[in-house]
Amino acid sequence: MITIAGGGLAGLASAYELARRGVSVRVFDPGDSPGSNSVARFAGGMLAPWCEGESAEDEVVALGALAADWWAQVTPVFRRGTLVVAPPRDTPDLTRFARRTSAHRPVTGAEISELEPVLSDRFQHGLFFEGEAHLDPRRALRDLAQSLQDMGVELLYNTPTPALIDLDCTGMAADLPDLRPVRGEMAILYCPEIEINRTLRLLHPRMPLYLVPRGDGHYMIGGTMIESSSSRPPSLRSLTELLSAAFTLHPAFAEASVVEIGAGLRPAFPDNLPRIITHNGRLHLNGFYRHGFLLAPAMAARVADQILPGDKR
């Protein structure tokens, strides 16, 4: 029996990899239900290793490449790519983005309107990352929890964690040296007039925006990156920037309903890479930063290999 503290993203992904290797697993979490207490409920759900490569270490690209296949085992994954655009005056940013990333092709205004007809005539240059995907984070956590239950994993929500456990995946609640919070603010818009099918990124020197379709006219927009542990609701400044960036993508967003706003704290180490470490005799998987969905599959497999050394699939 392997016990895990934390039924958020990392805990559930690790439970999956362990259960798949044939051991019984029990997960403890003080929250009410899968994901209810997890920072992942604010996430975009982008599986975008190549775009992230713009500012992340090469390892993120390498580890993230298989994430879409992994998630597709348990939840719907939308493999429609990422379209990166920039307003005309920020085209130098597009050039830089292209130089720093791979697995993309340049697209013209005509190709952009073919991919996303609502954007026709709005952007003349863009980059298309065909291999990228997205999912719905809240649904993904619920679906993952369901698969775990089907596999016989015990998910104990609303339950205090025993002192002795095998793996700690408590995210920001873990007391680890060098683990710091990076605050992220987001909003969900409802705008049935607009149909966008894939993740869009709008480059901007100060406030780059991403928009992830959630289906039925809903769009998640995010996300700020602030070195702070404050979990107060989003500030007017951040929201103004996010919402006006959405308006830059398409003026019809002016009529969107803002159905939700939120702010979450991403757990991160100084190099912004996840780590498997032993601290005070306890094994931890943590530091997923803005890459929980992207990197949890690969890191969960690693941690499972470490816990069950003889059992390399």
């Binding site: 702070s228 500030s235 912004n272």
Partner: protein, 255 residues
């Protein structure tokens, strides 16, 4: 170089925003051996909540110059400065009062007013200003002992858009430390600023957004050193025609 009552050896000051990760930032700081880094504060940090990141910065041993980046009014800038004094235990403040949300041009009227208030409260103010001489004078009157003129708009990487104005500032304020803040994109820009006789340069985006921030930080430090040495060495004057370096008088005329 002396700024307020502090002796400073490195003439490169580095901003800490927009790096891929704190680890990359620390590498950059170490590779350019800067002594002063600027840090921006947000309201979110009022309770000391930025600590994880600040601890990383403190470990580098650099001196922290908090800034009021993103403040659009005198009141906001003054409140942020007070918060910074509390949090970082320093009287230093890099004062920014932004007048234009889009190009981040300083609001020089608000700047002078905020500088007056903060100097009266015992702050040592580093004002981010334009290259306007009259504004510079007003800032000195307000109690500032250093001026930080822009080279170009923040984050634009355009280099020095008006070198003549900076040259004019140098001539007009021979004894005031002048630090070019904003607009530096490449090492040659930093070098040019130093050749003009500026005392130091402050930059952020050019390092943070480079493909290899640590390598760029080092290149910037070398450029600053080269520019300073060039300025001190009293460069020759430019001419508008070629002058052979070997005298032609007395050369044999071979028919």
């Amino acid at each position: 170089m002396q700024i307020y009552d502090t002796e400073i050896n490195s003439r490169l000051l580095v901003g800490t925003a927009q790096y891929p990760s704190p680890a990359v930032l620390v590498d950059a700081i170490n590779s350019c051996r800067c002594e002063i880094v600027t840090v921006s504060l947000r309201r979110e940090n009022a309770d000391g909540s930025g600590t994880g990141f600040w601890d990383t910065l403190r470990q580098t041993g650099t001196r922290i110059l908090p800034n009021t980046a993103g403040c659009h009014s005198v009141q906001e800038a003054v409140t942020t400065a007070q918060m910074a004094r509390e949090l970082f235990g320093t009287n230093w403040i890099k004062l920014e009062v932004i007048g234009h949300a889009d190009n981040l041009q300083p609001d020089v009227f608000g700047l002078v007013e905020a500088a007056r208030i903060l100097c009266a409260q015992g702050f040592q103010v580093f004002p981010y200003t334009t290259d306007d001489l009259v504004v510079g004078e007003k800032l000195l009157e307000a109690g500032c002992e250093v001026l930080m003129p822009w080279g170009a708009p923040i984050g634009s990487g355009q280099g020095l858009r008006n070198p003549d104005a900076l040259r004019g500032m140098r001539a007009h304020f021979p004894n005031v430390p002048l630090i070019v803040d904003a607009g530096i994109g490449r090492p040659s820009d930093a070098c040019q600023a130093m050749e003009l006789g500026m005392d130091a340069v402050l930059l952020n985006t050019a390092i943070a957004k480079a493909g290899d921030p640590a390598a760029m930080a080092q290149a910037m430090a070398q450029a600053v050193d080269a520019g300073r040495a060039g300025y001190l060495a009293d460069p020759m004057e430019r001419r508008n025609m070629a002058i052979p370096s070997t005298p032609i008088l007395g050369m044999a005329e071979l028919a």
